[in-house]
């Protein structure tokens, strides 16, 4: 039930994000979701794309440092308290969310969010036990 995310190291200067977008476009890779965490000097761009292999190869060829990380995609009810319910479940179990970000697309009535959680398998089991829908990687890449 893991989803593979790719992370790219970027210096915090003009044009770097645009260059990543251009490289992915050239490689015919579609970005499904993304989030950028930054400091004054550098940033880490996290991406969910439709073809990880192609994306990683294209970025590495152009000299970027890229890594893969397993994350969880879960459905969040699109109403007040939807996200809180998930975080509450994890918090009660003492599981820490390193970071998270949202998908643009919905599945039916629900929003989709990406969670970077450790330990990941324990978190997935816990969410499923609480009737939270965890979405498989293959589905996420094609969303």
């Amino acid at each position: 039930m893991h989803v593979e995310q790719i992370s790219v190291f970027l210096e915090n200067k003009a044009g770097r994000l645009a260059e990543v977008a251009a490289i992915l476009a050239e490689a015919d890779v579609n970005i499904r979701a993304l989030a950028l965490a930054d400091t004054s000097d550098f940033g880490v761009l996290r991406l969910i794309v439709n073809d990880n292999q192609k994306a990683i190869q294209a970025l590495k060829n152009r000299g970027f440092t890229v890594s893969k990380t397993d994350v969880v995609a879960a459905e969040v009810e699109d109403r007040p308290g939807g996200l809180n319910r998930i975080l509450d479940i994890l918090n009660r179990a003492g599981i820490n969310v390193e970071y998270m970000y949202a998908f643009v697309q919905h599945t039916g009535k629900n929003a989709v969010m990406i969670f970077r959680i450790d330990p990941i398998d324990e978190a997935i089991k816990l969410l499923q036990k609480n009737n939270i829908t965890v979405i498989e990687g293959s589905k996420v890449y094609a969303m």
């Binding site: 992370s7 210096e11 400091t39 550098f42 940033g43 880490v44 890229v66």
Partner: protein, 433 residues
């Protein structure tokens, strides 16, 4: 003022006779007491008896910083540790510092030469000396301090840092002589201005600045902003510390070398050939009175030239011109010697770091800043920002701990650091001195 008229204005022939006698005694002593020198002499089929004139010094091979490192920590000492009363250290080219020792007599000699230097720079026993050189393993602080006391002046051992407090002390204690690195002197001026204190209202007459290279342009700026006469002082711990050579405030044109204690030579750094007066090359020193840590033909890596012309101040001692550069890659940052290889050793101790780094030195405002660029490779990279930030902090802390210099660490994308013909450019020095 000339403190030691006898030696400082001695006719050259008389001086040379004394120098030769002292050189021979030093050669005898290192041959008998320092295995490193004995071995070098034997390898080159030289005995102390071969040194009959000052010209003969040329036969003896050079001593380098690497030799000192190979004999770390006390292998170059020429006296038993019982007779050593002080140890100082400066940056080595790798993790290990260069260690030097002094006997009680060495400390006294050093104090006398430093007192001469302060006097040449304008100080008298009636002066109050604000000594902002760092106290500690660095020779600047204590060397100047002992010289000031020997001269009979009042010394304020304020050391480096705590700049605002220094300004208050300057206002309240009324020091008349400032001793500091030239970049710190300018920083003091900047902070004083921020605090609304004008150097015109302070009592400084002379400033004696050294431990890093500085230009005539910087002298003009210091003299204007600090409202004092600025002179250059030269020294290095391997030879003694501050007080090896000093500019007289009368001429401010080259630094008089205390030749009754140190023999200077200028060599072609590539061939080792001794160059005539006036030609620019690497400065080499032989000490002729030191007991604990004599050095024979020590290569300073500093680039300058020698000027034998008589000086208006009356001293007969030869002058070296202001140091214009280095023959190695040593950087001096806020008075601290830094070799790129030292930074590399610190980086290599951290597992994830690859050997792709670059040092950028800038002068922001009046202070030198060191930025260490480290390329982020796959082993180092993490999707979590805090992991990367912790790594930056860890590298900066290790640099501070090992080298004693504050650095900003900046993670950069791979291949950002320019490689010229496959060889990385390790240092970018943007300072205009």
């Amino acid at each position: 003022m000339i403190l030691d008229i006898g030696f400082e204005t001695m006719p050259r022939e008389d001086l040379e006779a004394i120098v030769l006698r002292r050189l021979k005694a030093t050669i005898d002593r290192v041959y008998a007491n320092v295995p490193f020198y004995r071995k070098k002499f034997e390898e080159n089929h030289i005995t102390p008896n071969d040194i009959k004139s000052l010209e003969d010094l040329k036969q003896i091979p050079f001593t380098t910083k690497e030799d000192l490192r190979d004999n770390y920590p006390f292998g170059m000492f020429a006296v038993p540790m019982d007779n050593v009363v002080r140890i100082h250290a400066s940056s080595g080219t790798t993790g290990k510092p260069t260690v030097v020792g002094y006997t009680a007599r060495d400390i006294n000699t050093w104090a006398e030469l430093m007192a001469r230097a302060l006097a040449a720079g304008g100080a008298t026993r009636g002066d109050i000396i604000h000594n902002a050189y760092g106290y500690g393993l660095f020779t600047g602080g204590l060397g100047t301090h002992y010289g000031a006391e020997k001269l009979g002046a009042s010394v304020i051992p304020v050391s480096g840092g705590n700049t605002k407090r220094q300004i208050i002390i300057m206002k309240d204690f009324g020091p008349t002589i400032l001793t500091a690195t030239p970049s710190y002197a300018l920083y003091l001026a900047e902070v004083a201005e921020e605090m609304g204190v004008s150097f015109k209202d302070l009592k400084f007459k002379f400033g004696i600045f050294g431990a890093e290279p500085w230009s005539e342009k910087m002298r003009e700026e210091i003299e204007r902003k600090l409202n004092l006469t600025a002179v250059d002082i030269y020294g290095l711990s391997e030879v003694m510390g501050p007080g090896v050579a000093i500019e007289c405030h009368e001429a401010k044109k080259g630094l008089h070398i205390f030749e009754d204690h140190f023999i200077p030579e200028i060599i072609n750094p590539a061939t080792g050939e001794v160059l005539p007066y006036g030609e620019t090359g690497e400065l080499v020193f032989t000490t002729i009175t030191k007991e604990a840590f004599p050095v024979i033909r020590y290569r300073t890596r500093d680039i300058t030239s020698l000027n034998p012309e008589p000086c208006i101040c009356g001293r007969t001692l030869i002058r070296m011109n202001k140091v214009s550069g280095r023959t190695d890659d040593m950087l001096i940052i806020r008075g601290v010697n830094v070799f790129p290889s030292q930074i590399e050793s610190v980086l290599m101790e951290i597992d994830e770091v690859e050997p792709h780094y670059q040092l950028v030195v800038d002068r922001k405002g009046k202070l030198d800043t060191l930025t260490v660029l480290v390329e982020v490779g796959e082993r180092l990279f993490s999707d979590e920002v805090k992991v990367l930030q912790n790594l930056e902090r860890k590298i900066a802390k290790n640099i501070k701990d090992y080298l004693g210099v504050s650095a900003k660490v900046k993670l950069v994308e791979p291949k950002v650091i320019a490689r010229s013909q496959g060889k990385a450019v390790r240092v970018i020095d943007n300072r205009k001195i």
